[in-house]
């Protein structure tokens, strides 16, 4: 499992934290999570996505805890892969360089939308909220990070 997914998960932790030591801590947290709750991984549709979210939670927890001042590396040093097709490079950079300025739920959503390139519908499904909610939160994130992005067309709430 580690041989298959480890390098990409490690890369993800470094990308989110921009600190080698903290990334190492996040990977250790991930291993601890696997040892404690690894059985749910077996039921996951995509083990990689499950592991990515676990690595992300571990990384963002460490970032929020902020007990140690991290020595943030330049993004270029931790981003050999670069953005995936369809991901706005400028927005991605803004999010990665400003994650600590966001609230916890905003951090996860910002990573999903602007780093991983999920659509609002995909993010809504994964978070278990409506797309309207995702759209509102995404607008707040854009405002907070002063992203000059064209917002996705807002959707009207449809009465159920």
């Amino acid at each position: 499992m580690y041989r298959r997914y480890g390098p990409m998960l490690e890369r993800r932790c470094r990308l989110l934290l921009r600190d080698d030591t903290l990334a190492e801590d996040a990977m250790q947290e991930l291993v601890a999570v696997l040892l404690r709750r690894g059985e749910t991984l077996r039921e996951a549709e995509s083990p990689y996505r499950w592991l990515c979210r676990a690595a992300e939670r571990a990384s963002l927890d460490l970032l929020r805890r902020g007990r140690r001042v991290r020595d943030a590396l330049p993004l270029e040093d931790v981003d050999a892969l670069g953005p995936a097709p369809g991901v706005d490079a400028e927005a991605r950079r803004a999010v990665l360089e400003s994650l600590e300025r966001l609230e916890p739920d905003e951090q996860h959503l910002a990573v999903m939308l602007f780093v991983d390139g999920l659509t609002q519908s995909e993010a809504a499904e994964e978070l278990g909220v409506s797309r309207v909610t995702v759209n509102k939160r995404a607008s707040q994130i854009r405002l907070q990070l002063r992203l000059g992005l064209a917002a996705e067309p807002s959707v009207q709430e449809v009465p159920s």
Partner: protein
Amino acid sequence: MSHPNAITLEALALGESPAGAADHVATCEACRAYVERVRTEMDAPRSNVVPLVGRVEGAARRRRSRAFATVAVPFAIAASLLLVLKRPEAPAPIASTPSAPPSASATEEPLAMAAPEPGTRFKGGLSLAVVRERGGDQTRFTGAVPVRSGDRLRLEVALDRTEAILAAVLGDDGSWLELMAEGARDAGTHLSERSARVDASPTGGVIVVGRAEDVRRARATRDTRGLTTIRIEVEP
């Protein structure tokens, strides 16, 4: 043209079969290039995270053999104490040991349990070791741990039965850092969830492990009786 998201493409590169991704990649040059970059990244040199993870895996594999050691060693110590008690003229081996300054070679111990050193006490079926990481090298201590700025310490706690424990570092300056949260843990070897990083102006301290109420009492009173401890010494 809309593309699969990054995680989907990466999953594909890692050998998973996300729905529709392979068909898209077959027709999309940009996504194909990204998948290739992921595969290249997979082959890139790795950091030193792997050995740390290896330790966890190794600890799990060693659990069975350690179970024997954690049961056998207390018996051996008890047998030794009986012999000492029966021969009062003989000096007690541990008490007569001079408290020499700790050194890596004296306290480093690859696998087997060593006799407790001064400052280290074992209670019941709990034994404690500290893994110190310095410049990418890891050294395991069962006695006092010499530290300097930049070192990282992680605990390795072996239990011979399910037990609720808490582990923390109590600094000589009153600082406090919990490395293993309070909770029940099964018999076996456990690495602490957190590691302690020695900051730029370190002070000595003591690592304490045991029942949560005893550990918290030690924080308030600095009385570590009944707890398993390892001393942290700052290198001159």
